[in-house]
């Protein structure tokens, strides 16, 4: 078919009406002219008319033949089916509305959850050939820096050696495992601002195959000698947001600490680095690591394991070959370092170490570890909800198609083929599903933003691209078609399977077989069973969340203001006495503010990571596998957090950098790691990095507290005074009384009166911080509750719909029953019995399914062992309750049937 011909066909499609009119007129003229000719010849007009028509042929057939010539016949029937479907949808608007709403919610929820699943787990990095990329190790960002056997994080010198000596990678790049959030100044501005900086090896972009949109990316030369290359590449987002898309951006500069960096390039918009859910603003070459506060000296240290290493496999190299090559090199390189510590313990560790290569195609993701399980569960939940919606719509359509039995019988009697009728019904289902799907996409776009907000614990939304994309639309289309098939097939096949003559003979059109409607009933049972599973799940998750909320944190989370202060902008080393006295002054001045009860810095407040290693306690065998989490705190820490001291004293002015080193240990450290029967106070111990001569004496015992999560096991914790273990603090807490906003303002003013340049950020409360650590659980609980409720709601609509329909069909029979003496209560029970029976069967099937489901989600539950019988009973009762309400209305209507009216019915 030539292009012109195709164009003419399409033109024809859009001018169908004009075409029909033209053809009509043309053919009419022809017949009239012929007729006139015959009349002129002297024929009688009537005969002339007949002969002309006869000679012309059957105009309807001709019209159709002409129409077919244009090749749009199939489409026309589809359009006709669609129009018909549209009309029949309009005829029962309530049903259509319910169906559309169910579909929109069902498809929308699936699409929304899938978009997260896609963004977090499935989508490839937007780089060249992501499949060739592998990561050394498993991408864990908490390394063990004091042991030799770490195969997740590596030192920069290790990276360089691997780069030179490996035989399997075409290129190897390193990226610092954490992002540095620093405060810097853009040239021409007075204020410092928070900048997310990612430190990478010079060949990072070349290895990934990422091209600049402007300027250049970093290269090997930028990473060739330490401290000489103050250049950065900036992200497209930051360019647009932070620099207002300045076209002259390559001439601008950023000052971090004392170093002024030149912007040399802009990364493409879609590139977000190598970690999903973390979008750096700037990329800095590793050679400049010391100039990106906080003053790290990792460039030359052989055993500062803090980089992730990414390799691009040479073409044709298998993961297996690469693994064995890297494994051999790992041992050679580590043992070859001049400062290797060949103690027996280290060498044993090293012998056991194997580097595992992980595919980097989808990037590194902390989000994946956190959210993959909840997302999978939510995906399953939403799929079940969609299934319920489908069952519902199938049921409603089934009910309607039974009403349409006569219509179909007539059409089949007139010669319509069953296939054609099935097609008609499926077209209607597809139409319904498509509109539902479109509404669903709109719903998903809205739900996505809401969900992203829900999982982002801080004030900034996690930079995750969950917008509606092609892949998502395809997914959505696929489930739309699938749902249409699921809910459309049953009614289509059922509704058209008719004994024509019988139906036509039977004026009442309601043979008893249709009233019983076993298919509709099984769908109700299925819905009830699934609803029960979802409800039990929801109750379990809510119960689990409540358990988490009840957990004793060990500190008082109410009434504490939290903020972060970036002291690295001062460019003073943490151990500098000026820094120590500045922290002291802030603590003291804030503590005296009206409404403030206590204030303190600390290395870590709740849910902010830890620094840990083993400890040596004289009198107890050393166990290197027991980690103690260290915290460095200001003197007011315990008072601020209201952590009770069980014995001894807190830190005070007497604990200086030159006095005897001191420590406070937690209750469980005292109980389990110190010799039994000895008072730990006054007892000495030391960490592996401290010499025995430099040991600490225990001066106090504090109550155990939660450290990282509410559901963690009891952690061992000890506390060091900031004077003796200088720490570049960021975290500051204030216990207050009164209005939080007023206190927050006063605290900020006080800090700025001490040092005007200190940037203060992330102002929140301890309470919110605790809440954000269970975001995940709350998300699952809230969403499963929502979907559980939705499932039950849909099931109720299903029950109500089916029962109303059945009552309507049986009006006649009910009338007779009443006429021969059945009481209203009898009739009501007649209907209710049916509902209760269906729900009971559904519940019976649902209980084992709920047990199975409980087993699957068991690891996500907190404080619940095995099936929670109370939850199960709760769900069953709730379900029965709402089902009875849904069934009561039709039952009531049945009871009100007037026998006289009913008998005259039809």
């Amino acid at each position: 078919m030539s292009l012109n011909e195709a164009l003419r066909r399409i033109q024809m499609l859009f001018q169908g009406n004009r075409f029909q009119q033209d053809l009509e007129e043309e053919m009419r003229l022809h017949r009239e002219l012929r007729e006139e000719e015959y009349i002129e010849r002297g024929e009688n007009p009537e005969v002339a008319h007949r002969t002309a028509n006869q000679k012309f042929g059957n105009p309807t057939v001709l019209r159709e033949k002409s129409y077919r010539a244009w090749g749009w016949n199939g489409l026309a029937t589809v359009l006709q089916d669609l129009r018909y479907g549209m009309r029949s949808m309009m005829r029962s608007p309530a049903l259509t509305l319910v169906a559309l709403l169910s579909l929109a919610l069902g498809i929308g929820a699936n699409t929304a959850i899938f978009s997260f699943l896609d963004a977090v787990m499935l989508r490839s990095l937007p780089i060249k050939d992501p499949k060739q990329l592998v990561l050394l190790g498993e991408g864990l960002d908490s390394g063990q820096t004091d042991r030799y056997g770490s195969t997740d994080l590596y030192s920069y010198p290790f990276f360089r050696q691997l780069q030179q000596r490996n035989a399997v990678f075409s290129d190897v790049a390193a990226v610092l495992s954490m992002r540095n959030d620093v405060h810097g100044t853009v040239d021409g501005r007075d204020e410092t601002e928070l900048i997310h900086a990612q430190i990478v090896s010079g060949n990072y972009f070349a290895t990934l195959g990422v091209q600049p949109v402007m300027g250049r990316m970093l290269n090997e030369a930028d990473d060739s000698s330490e401290g000489d290359h103050p250049v950065v590449v900036i992200s497209d987002t930051w360019w647009k947001r932070g620099l207002a898309g300045d076209p002259n951006v390559l001439n601008r500069k950023i000052k971090l600490g004392t170093t002024t960096f030149n912007i040399v390039g802009v990364a493409p918009a879609e590139f977000f680095g190598t970690k999903v859910g973390e979008k750096p603003d700037i990329w800095v070459p590793a050679s400049m690591i010391q100039s990106v506060p906080p003053n790290w000296n990792y460039y030359k240290q052989n055993f500062s394991q803090s980089f992730l290493i990414v390799g691009r496999l040479k073409p044709g190299t298998t993961i297996k070959q690469a693994t064995s090559n890297v494994d051999v090199l790992y041992h050679q390189i580590i043992r070859g370092f001049s400062d290797v510590d060949t103690s027996k313990r280290n060498m044993e560790h090293l012998d056991e170490a194997h580097v595992q290569l992980t595919s980097m195609a989808t990037g590194i993701s902390g989000l994946r570890q956190t959210f993959s399980e909840p997302l999978k569960i939510l995906m399953a939940i939403t799929a079940l909800v969609l299934l319920i919606a489908c069952a519902n719509i199938a049921n409603l359509l089934l009910a309607r198609s039974t009403v349409r039995v006569r219509e179909f019988a007539v059409r089949q009697a007139l010669g319509a083929q069953r296939g054609r009728l099935v097609r008609q019904l499926l077209t209607e289902s597809l139409l319904l599903a498509t509109i539902g799907g479109m509404l669903g996409v709109a719903f998903a776009a809205f739900a996505n933003r809401l969900l992203l907000r829900m999982i982002s614990s801080g004030p900034d939304v996690i930079p995750l691209d969950v917008s509606i994309n092609m892949r998502l639309l395809l997914f959505c289309m696929a489930i739309t078609v699938l749902t249409a098939l699921i809910f459309g097939c049953i009614p289509a096949l059922r509704g058209t399977r008719i004994a024509i003559t019988e139906t036509l003979k039977d004026g009442r059109s309601t043979s008893n077989t249709n009233v019983r409607n076993p298919l509709g009933k099984s769908l109700i049972v299925l819905q009830v069973a699934i609803s029960l599973v979802l409800m039990v799940g929801a109750i379990l998750f809510i119960h689990s969340l409540a358990n988490l909320n009840k957990v004793d944190t060990g500190f008082n989370r109410e009434g504490v203001l939290r903020m972060e202060i970036d002291a690295t902008v001062t460019n003073i080393k943490p151990s500098d006495p000026r820094m120590i006295s500045m922290f002291r002054e802030i603590e003291e001045r804030v503590s005296t503010l009206p409404g403030v009860k206590a204030a303190s810095f600390a290395a870590f407040f709740y849910h902010q990571g830890t620094w840990n290693n083993s400890i040596h306690v004289p009198g107890v065998p050393y166990n290197e596998n027991i980690d103690v989490n260290h915290n460095v705190i200001g003197d007011g820490y315990f008072k601020t957090m209201q952590i009770p001291l069980l014995a001894g004293r807190s830190f005070g002015p007497q604990d200086t950098s030159t006095s005897q080193r001191v420590a406070i240990i937690s209750e469980s450290v005292a109980k389990n790691l110190f010799p039994a029967g000895v008072n730990p106070i006054g007892h000495h111990y030391y960490t592996p990095s401290e010499q025995p001569a430099n040991d600490r004496v225990v001066i106090g015992i504090a109550k155990d507290v939660k450290l990282r999560n509410l559901n963690e096991e009891q952690q061992y914790i000890d506390y060091f005074p900031s004077t003796q273990s200088p720490w570049g603090f960021q975290h500051f807490a204030v216990r207050y009384d009164g209005d939080v906003t007023m206190i927050a303002n006063a605290v900020q003013q006080t800090i700025h009166s001490i040092n005007r340049t200190l940037p203060i950020g992330n102002i929140t409360t301890l309470d919110k911080q605790v809440a954000s650590s269970i975001t995940n659980q709350r998300l699952v609980a809230q969403l499963s509750a929502f979907f559980g409720a939705l499932a039950v709601f849909l099931s109720c609509i299903g029950i109500y719909g089916l029962m109303s329909y059945m009552v309507g069909r049986r009006t006649n029979e009910i009338g007779i029953r009443i006429a021969i003496g059945a009481t209203r209560a009898n009739v009501r029970w007649l209907v209710m019995r049916e509902i209760v029976l269906l729900v009971a069967i559904g519940v019976a099937i649902g209980i084992p399914a709920a047990f199975a489901g409980n087993h699957i989600v068991g690891s996500m539950l907190f404080g619940l062992n095995g099936m929670d019988v109370a939850s199960l009973l709760c769900a069953i009762l709730a379900l029965l309750g709402v089902a009875i309400v849904a069934g009561y209305l039709p039952a009531q209507r049945a009871a009100r049937v007037d026998p006289m009216v009913a008998l005259r019915y039809e």
Binding site: R8, R9, L23, E25, E26, H30, F56, G57, L62, W70
Partner: protein, 109 residues
């Protein structure tokens, strides 16, 4: 008078020929032309012209335009296009080849 049906596949050739001789015709005139030129031997189910014309419009062998007849009535006039002329040549040569072949067979005594 006994009339014969138009052999299948030749209707479009006849229409194209009629148009090539007369330039521009409406459907009624084509029907008359075929009937008269064949000296009333060929009978068209006259209406069947119209599906054929639609097909030819699609193929781009003819164009159609509304005009006015001598009797002052609105009629759709068809005209040959360049590709229609080419099609006519193709169909004629094909027809003559087949007709010639049949003729040779039939005439073989």
């Amino acid at each position: 008078m006994k009339r014969d049906e138009i052999p299948p596949g030749t209707l479009s050739m006849l229409i194209l020929k009629a148009l090539s001789l007369h330039g521009s015709l409406h459907g009624f005139e084509m029907a008359n032309f075929i009937q008269q030129s064949s000296e009333d031997v060929l009978q068209v189910e006259e209406g069947s012209l119209y599906p054929a014309l639609q097909r030819m419009l699609i193929k781009g062998w003819v164009t159609a335009e509304w005009g006015v007849t001598d009797g002052n009535r609105r009629a759709r006039y068809y005209k040959l296009t360049a590709s229609g002329r080419k099609q006519l040549a193709t169909e004629l040569s094909q027809f003559q080849r087949v007709f010639g072949a049949i003729n040779r067979i039939v005439q073989t005594a």
